[in-house]
Amino acid sequence: MMNRRIFIKKTAAFSAMAAAATMVPGILFAHEQKHDNPASDITWHKAPCRFCGVGCGILVGTQAGRAVAVKGDPNCSVNKGLLCVKGYHQIMCTSASDRLTKPLIKKNGKYVEVTMKEALDLVAAKMQETIKKYGKDSVAMYTSGQSTIPEGYVASKFMKGAIGTNNLECNARLCMASAVAGFLTTFGADEPMGCYEDIEHADVFVLWGNNMAEMHPVLFSRMLDNRLRRKNVKIIDLATRTTRTSKAADISILFKPQGDLAIANAICYELINNNWLDKNFIEKHVVFFKGKTGLGYGLEDKFAFKDEPEAIDFDQYKAFLNDYRPDKVEALTGVPAKEIKYLAALYGDPNLKVVTYWCMGINQHTRGTWANNLIYNIHLLTGKISQPGNGPFSLTGQPSACGTAREVGTFTHKLPKGVVTNKKSRELAAKIWKVPYERIPDKPTYHTTEMFRAIDRGDIRFIWIQSTNPLVSLPRTSRYRPALAKDSCFVVVSDVFPTPTTDVADVILPAAWHIEKSGLYGNSERRTQYWDKMIEPPGEALPDAWMTIEVARRMGFAKLFPYSKEKHHEEIYNEYRQFHAGKKHNMAPLSVLKKQSGAIWPYIEETGRSTLWRYNSRYDPACDTTKDFDFYGKPNGKAVIWLRPYEPAPEMPDNEYPFWLNTGRVIEHWHTGSMTRRIPVLHQAVPHAYVEIHPADAKRLGIKHNQKVKVISRRGQTVLPASVNDRGLPTPGQVFVPFFDENMLINDTTLDAFCPISKEPDFKKCAVRIEKV
């Protein structure tokens, strides 16, 4: 029995404990102290990670000329010392036994080892001969969002400045083109306004068509950490499939493929009809436009499209949205009206800071540019943009999709600054490159899909593929693999490992891997990162940039490529920086990038600071200081809200092909798996691809987990083991396949339809049927 004395004692003890407990968060321990590291045998070097667009800082430990360990760079503000399983084990691919170390030339159907000099002589001679016989536009280069900034820059200078053709494309067309087109149409300038620091400020995260737990794991953990530390942080997963992201999110909303267009418009309908708008922001900083509709899908060769923007007013926009009342679109989206209303209420609450993250679900979309525009509409209507914790943020999948593909501009229509159709851009490029202005053609030629179609047709007779594996990553490889294997096109492939693409090459050039060369990457938040060569490349392997320079010199362009072998990456970067001089895109000088773990452009040299939030005059000195926000990409300083309707996908499930096919990735493997499959830890975790089927569909078809099935589309077929109720759970009527596995090429079945504005293919939607093998 408890008597008074014990009661009082307990009360006193409890109150003391309660007081102490609340004080614990404030307890401070002795602070960090400096110390000198005693010498020993592991040396650490800083670099960005080789894999995704997050751009984590890594420290690579080397010992006796070999890379032996990796840890997260605690000095890098991106990842603060944390990495993912791919990042920790990346160096293990360098010891794979089939590493390409010698150039190979195909002679009578067999590969013969030759010297690098011989191989480069042949490449230059073939390229010259092809130009002579078939013209400049018969040769092409296909590069990568994994090319370093110097590699992309010399490729552009070589093709556009030296040879004089716009036949330069890169694989970032397959992943980022819609994001670029979205930024350009809405803001007039590419790349996000915010940065990763938004994560520490936002209250609500909407993950839109992005399995962030597996694709951008370090940022996802940063978000979870933020939710642990602060109250009221909500993560909402908006997707077509239940994933690890959905499991970790507070709310998971599943929608039908292509339903995203209607959902975004329905949210805007709710915002306007509940008057959840930032009227002052809209009045000062926004204009309204509509474009063409019924664009087509680019399924036929030589498809062409040009949008015709037309200014409208707010009332026209409001009237257009009447078709998108949440209950009206339930059938299209599969999302209950109350869930859309809930989402709109979050976006519309002036006291909540909202960040929207998206990646391939929005970009790889036959209306990808529209989907990007529609997300911006939501943030512009509510004025939640360009402020800490508020903003739309397009994530990237490749380490330098931003730095190289988008900023250097390794696309047919791009120059390092501006586009080829713009006279001023051509003049600037000609001046810096020291080439005649007339040499740079003013018309874009082939975007990626059309480039491989041109090879199939015999219009392109020579292609040099660097640092990418299109015969696994292109849509509809069932057409483009035989196309590239044709004798009509001479194929040169530079890579680190043999791939299905090197299998059809006439010349294979061994390339130096990541830390075997020096270079620069640019990540999703506009951060440029530099690294130094840490170990020697094996055999005769060379950096891609140096191989391009060697070939250019052999073709008589030595004067344009006066770089030294040891310092070419630095000389090229210094030349490239001239393109972006000025307040809007100033790149940090090398001396800064060597010292710290990257800098975000526009870099302000006077203060030595990165610009974390663009278009906001509090943070961005490029803004007109008399305004609070200045969208200076557009001549009038105003962002555009686009009227973009719902339009159906080009191929929908029917009786013959009743399933949607969605493709993507898993955390263990990166893109086509040429590196990650050679890393034992990663291969042993996920040794092969599979097809995820909803348990109800599997039951109906009598398919069991791990049983082999055939995925068949109108274009091809692939045999894979079924995965029922395992890592991912597609909605009924949908299947999902990761595309990393070159032994189970799912892209043989995908459709090469693309967004007519961005020309980015849709890898997420086509119709298939499933058969038991």
Binding site: I8, T22, W44, V68, K71, P74, A213, A248, S597, L729
Partner: protein, 225 residues
């Protein structure tokens, strides 16, 4: 007498309440708008010592467990065989629970406090970083033993244990401390190999006696924003 207790009790409650109010408001102020400055950890410094005390409140339980003899004598070689190199995140050597889960509770129910897992007949190692809940971001299962292509990777030598400056002096810390500065998690769990197990987990201020002998050099220059 009765009144005195009531008054004492009342004051105790009152002081507790005021302490709670002051502290919550302080904490709230810190977590609000003003947390703009994000501290940049500094690789050239000793890791903050607070990590050392993460498991301090469990030290006695850990000691009891260790002394109860209910432990599995795991070898250090098994410990290193799960890591691609010393310091790499270990793989998951058992079926990894629900595939769709990123980790969190599913993993922490055993790995937070190092409980006995009857399904595997073993004690679970304690994670030094239970606050990172997307476990499968770094730790992946092993579903096959084969390779895609042969790989000649070999791990570097593990840091030697038991190095002492003088006979009988406390051994030094020979491994890197990034993400592993919670000493008790790895050195005082029942899953700890005997060779690196601590005999005195109740003395929680480990770095009072065990100094760092770091084997790392040329750490990049310090950068703080």
């Amino acid at each position: 007498m009765k009144q005195r207790y009531i008054i004492i009790g009342f004051w105790a409650l009152l002081s507790a309440a005021s302490a709670i109010i002051v502290n919550t408001s302080l904490v709230e102020e810190r977590s609000g708008e003003n947390f703009d400055v994000i501290a940049q950890p500094d690789s050239n410094t000793l890791p903050a010592e607070e990590e050392v005390f993460k498991l301090a409140d469990k030290a006695l339980e850990l000691k009891q467990l260790l002394e109860s003899g209910q432990n599995v004598n795991k070898e250090l070689t098994a410990y290193y065989s799960r890591r691609a190199y010393p310091g790499a995140p270990p793989v998951i050597p058992h079926p990894a629970g629900e595939e769709r889960s990123p980790g969190g509770k599913d993993c922490l129910q055993c790995h937070r406090h190092g409980d006995y897992a009857p399904a595997y007949g073993a004690f679970a190692p304690i994670t030094p970083h239970p606050e990172l809940i997307s476990c499968k971001q770094c730790h992946v299962p092993v579903t096959t033993t084969g390779n895609f292509v042969a790989n000649t990777w070999s791990s570097t030598a593990a840091p030697g244990s038991g190095q002492q400056a003088l006979p009988g002096s406390p051994p030094v810390i020979t491994h890197g401390l990034q993400m592993r500065s919670n000493c008790l998690a790895c050195h005082a769990s029942s899953a700890t190999p005997a060779k690196i197990r601590v005999t005195h987990p109740e003395r929680v201020n480990c770095r009072q006696c065990h100094a760092i002998k770091n084997n790392e050099k040329n750490v990049p220059e310090i950068w703080t924003r």
